[in-house]
């Protein structure tokens, strides 16, 4: 049963991502490495490599040194996928305040690349889309909170929202990068 579920998730996920990549003329995908370690979209890297012919780089937003912030395959060192010619789409797990995505976009822009699109699996609908819009980043989401809510999968603590904290989190990104 679970194997059909896995394909039922992978197939539409890859299809939507591929549609966006083609429509926006993306030539590099930046996977946002979460604080929790190598989980989430980083685990889907194999699936993406198998089905999408676009190079991926891993962006570690918590690293302080520029040389540690972007990781790619050793074989790509001759022609790094992240260069001023790159048009990068960021791929992340969840969007809350939008701070992680903005942080990753600033890192990518440091390399001269264009970064105007982000794709997340789950949008928590806590203002990330609007804040990123103001920073010239268009956010696409695979599903959002309404998807889980309509199926009764979220409880009140998941939905509670501290608007001030997420605004502060977003606005402090500039100071970090």
């Amino acid at each position: 049963m679970i194997d059909s579920y896995i394909e039922g998730f992978h197939a539409p996920f890859v299809k939507e991502l591929l549609t966006l990549v083609k429509a926006q003329d993306i030539n590099c995908i930046g996977l946002i490495f979460p604080n929790q370690g190598p989980v989430g979209v980083v685990q889907l890297r194999g699936v993406l490599a198998e089905r999408i012919a676009v190079p991926t780089v891993i962006i570690r937003i918590n690293e302080r040194l520029v040389r540690n912030q972007v990781w790619f395959e050793r074989s790509d060192t001759a022609y790094p996928p992240l260069s001023p010619k790159s048009k990068v789409m960021l791929l992340g797990d969840a969007a809350t305040s939008g701070a992680s995505i903005y942080c990753a976009a600033l890192i990518v822009r440091k390399f001269g690349a264009i970064c105007e699109h982000a794709f997340v699996v789950f949008d928590r609908l806590q203002g990330a889309s609007e804040r990123l819009d103001a920073k010239r980043i268009k956010l696409f989401s695979f599903i959002d909170r309404n998807f889980f809510e309509s199926r009764g999968e979220l409880n009140q603590s998941d939905i509670s929202h501290d608007g001030k904290a997420s605004r502060f989190e977003f606005e402090s990104v500039r100071a970090i990068i």
Binding site: I2, D3, S4, Y5, I6, E7, G8, F9, A11, P12, E16, P34, N35, Q36, V39, G40, V41, Q43, L44, D93, A94, T96, V121, F122, D123, R124, L125, S129, D133, K138, F140, S141, F142, I143, D144, N146, F147, F148, S150, R151, E153, S157, D158, S160, H161, D162, K164, A165, S166, E169
Partner: protein, 70 residues
């Protein structure tokens, strides 16, 4: 068209998969099993980090497969 109308009619904020999608059962089942929340919360009490741990599901898949082999 004013700003408000433009925003209303734009596709901004719309998800790529709607709850009525054919694959929504599979997507919901996978993502609800994989959803994880960080143990750390912001000062305001907001649980800050949501993430998906797909290994949880893949491990389960491996276990089921090995049971079938037995």
């Amino acid at each position: 068209m004013g700003d408000l109308e433009e925003r209303f009619f734009s596709d901004s904020g719309k998800t790529l998969i709607s709850p009525d999608d054919d694959n929504s059962d599979a997507i919901c089942n996978i993502l609800k099993r994989a959803l994880g929340k960080s143990d750390w919360v912001a000062r305001g009490g907001m649980s800050s980090n949501y993430y998906f741990n797909f290994d949880k599901i893949y491990n389960q898949f491996d276990q089921n497969e090995s049971k079938n082999c037995d």
